[in-house]
């Protein structure tokens, strides 16, 4: 699809995304299994009384996870563009580190459908999930 190679070091890939640094996102890669990590920071709080992570931040983290998974699987250095996503909030996000994994449901030539899930202490108790569509750039489009 493109002539660009899979970014081998996904942490280097997200270094090129300032917003990933802003959220404190890193990648834990074990072979072809990718888990994203969002380190807890006070500034991610949306409800200081509970306290709980901001829902928007959790949504952004899931979107970033989907983008990283797509970058890995498509091998394109171009960053996929979100078209639309639906976020389901399942539990409130505690003030601890958050993890997420994404799965590509279908990858077409131009559009990919991705599902991602975020959890904290217990993988079987997800705090949020998203389902979204992303526009993939072709080699020529990425250059223009």
């Amino acid at each position: 699809m493109t002539d660009t190679k899979t970014p081998r070091d996904l942490n280097a890939f997200i270094e090129g995304i300032p917003y990933a640094r802003f959220l404190g996102i890193s990648v834990d890669q074990k072979g072809n299994e990718i888990t994203t990590v969002m380190k807890f920071d006070e500034k991610l709080i949306g409800n200081p009384l509970l306290p709980a992570l901001h829902g928007g931040v959790i949504g952004a983290f899931l979107e970033m996870t989907a983008i990283i998974q797509l970058a890995y699987e498509t091998g394109s250095a171009a960053i996929p563009k979100p078209i639309g996503l639906t976020i389901d909030y399942l539990r409130s996000g505690k003030p601890v580190d958050t993890y997420a994994r994404a799965q590509i449901t279908k990858q077409g030539r131009r559009v990919a459908t991705v599902h991602a899930e975020a959890w904290q202490e217990d993988r079987s108790k997800p705090i949020a999930a998203t389902h979204g569509h992303f526009l993939l750039k072709t080699g020529e489009e990425a250059e223009s």
Binding site: P18, Y19, N47, H54, G56, G59
Partner: protein
Amino acid sequence: MTTEFRMTPETMMALKEMLIQHVPQMRALGVEIINAAHAQAWLRVPYDERFIGNAETGVIHGGVITTVLDNTCGMAVQLAMDEPKAIATLDLRIDYMKPATPGLALTTHAHCYKTTRNIAFVRGTAYHTDINDPIASCVGTFMIGANRTVPTGVAAAKAFMAKQKKEG
């Protein structure tokens, strides 16, 4: 029954203090309240290099838009209720129509068009200057009375408005 809001500079300042300053994520993004009305809120987030999602183009990441839209929707829900209650986002669907222009601030508007005993329904839009030329739009539902915490900021802001109304 419907609370009339008079957006004087003082009211705006009270809203800003109470609804933005006590939310760390809103402070981190540098979000400002630019207007508020019954069941409606308008926020603005400045362009910031820390929010860039693509270093080559300088376009901000969709996640920033998601966060500000979510917050604007939550605020519209608070402004639609007679008394402040804890709310939590149940689901949020976002459509991205076009990339934000690098260097420009983002404006968001949300309207909570219906509340029931348990659920609030909201629609929102993100744009630069023209709401008819949207960057993203969203539709969401919020749980009302989601937990025991009552947003003190909202209570204080509403008390402030009620007092102002009485005095005015």
